[in-house]
């Protein structure tokens, strides 16, 4: 598993040059190609009564995007990188999926995307929609504020959440592929209160011991590959514990696996990774189980 090509999705309001620059650390992990994508939402240029299709507006928006991308691309070209760009009109998630396919990217980078309240109620956020439909890892940046800044190396200290599901192995492989960009990995496993509610004290200890052993095994794999890795076992609400762990260990990014679920299944059973993608203040890297 290698990360050689990234897709950087920007609407220029939420993902800026500092985020792009912070990703250059991935060059140490073999990244050399950057694909830019800007999607002009259909509503911005759609037919208006008396004005028809807003062709002039489309030209203007394309020009704005083109100028911005050229400015960003120039720096990367001068470093010997390959940069291509797509400026499209339509809905963001389908466009991300089609460009991902056309360009064969290994990682999608996007900002957290919300929808109008009513739409979000039945369809979830655009971020959740993307996570449900893609088979590629997605890195989601969540700016704290309009003037928020991205850290120099978001890959420096990873909080790696593992639940021993089939996605955990994929997540570990992916982290190993980030070698060179990562300095420290804090591996976290959370035993939920629900899991131990009906267990005896002895059974609870047994469960803890088993999970600690598995954490140590993962830790050994990472240490063998020269990562600075530490295991942590928590008990409680998974989402809360991951966020607490990230703060406690000064993580710069949260890394989680995700199983693909339908909208309704997700509504019923929930998904820690999707929920954190919508809430986390740190950049969050979600790796799907069916990673291609």
């Amino acid at each position: 598993m290698k990360i050689t090509k990234i897709l950087f999705v920007s609407e220029f309001e939420e993902l800026w040059l500092d985020a792009l620059q912070s990703l250059m650390v991935l060059r140490k992990a073999g990244m050399n190609d950057v694909v830019f994508l800007h999607v002009i939402h259909r509503d911005k240029v759609a037919m208006r009564r008396g004005a028809g299709y807003l062709k002039q507006e489309e030209r203007k928006l394309r020009e704005i995007a083109d100028i911005r991308f050229i400015d960003w691309a120039e720096t990367l070209y001068e470093e010997g990188m390959e940069v291509v760009a797509h400026i499209a009109i339509g809905n963001i998630v389908p466009k991300i999926l089609s460009v991902t396919e056309i360009e064969g990217v290994d990682l999608i980078i996007t900002a957290r995307r919300k929808r109008a309240k009513l739409e979000e109620l039945y369809a979830g956020s655009e971020t959740s929609d993307l996570l449900r439909r893609t088979v590629k890892p997605v890195l989601i940046y969540n700016y704290l504020s309009q003037s928020g800044k991205v850290g120099e190396n978001p890959f420096e200290r990873l909080l790696l959440g593992l639940d021993w599901s089939e996605s955990s192995e994929k997540v570990l492989d992916y982290v190993l592929a980030l070698k060179g960009a990562v300095k420290r990995v804090d591996i976290v496993n959370v035993i939920s209160e629900k899991d131990i509610a009906k267990l005896s004290k002895m059974e609870t200890h047994k469960l803890e011991r088993g999970n600690k052993k598995r954490l140590d095994e993962v830790c050994d794999v990472l240490i063998k590959e020269k990562f600075d890795a530490r295991p942590h076992l928590y008990i409680g609400n998974t989402e809360e514990q991951i966020q607490k762990g990230a703060s406690e260990h000064r993580a710069t990014m949260i890394v989680l696996g995700a199983k693909r679920k339908s909208v309704w299944k997700e509504k019923w059973s929930g998904s820690v990774s999707h929920s954190l993608a919508d809430k986390s203040e740190l950049p969050i890297l979600i790796i799907p189980t069916e990673i291609k």
Binding site: R62, I70, A73, E74, E78, V84, I102
Partner: protein, 130 residues
């Protein structure tokens, strides 16, 4: 016989502009919408000259230029760069590719920064193709 000019450009408006200039000056225009399609058309059509943009989908003009100049059968096709990317960046990018182990490539026959006047484009083509 009229000469064939391949224009590799993702912007439809600029493709229309270049096609008009080419037709008005007696050249046969061939179009490609990105670097990957551009390479296919170069091999298939063997144009007499290539007008090449840089920032496009699938393959950039920087990479396509480098590939063309390193291919013994294609390296002599004259190339006119027509882009919003500055010439300085283009030269530096080619030098950077050399640093990563590729061979040095010559500068393009002409470098035009967008926007370009139709007369300037026609004049440049005339100088190279005669």
């Amino acid at each position: 016989m009229a000469k064939k000019v391949l224009n590799v450009e993702d912007d439809a408006d600029i493709r229309t502009f270049v096609t008009t200039v080419l037709e008005e000056n007696g050249y046969i225009p061939i179009m490609a919408i990105d670097g990957a399609e551009g390479m296919e058309k170069v091999r298939k059509e063997r144009p007499d000259l290539i007008i090449l943009d840089i920032l496009m989908p699938r393959e950039s003009g920087i990479k396509m230029y480098h590939e063309l100049k390193l291919d013994p059968s294609l390296k002599d096709i004259p190339i006119v760069m027509l882009s919003g990317v500055s010439k300085r960046t283009f030269i530096r990018s080619q030098a950077a590719l050399t640093e990563f182990g590729d061979e040095t490539v010559p500068e393009p026959q002409a470098y035009l920064e967008k926007p370009v006047e139709p007369e300037d484009l026609a004049e440049t083509l005339k100088k190279i193709l005669g």
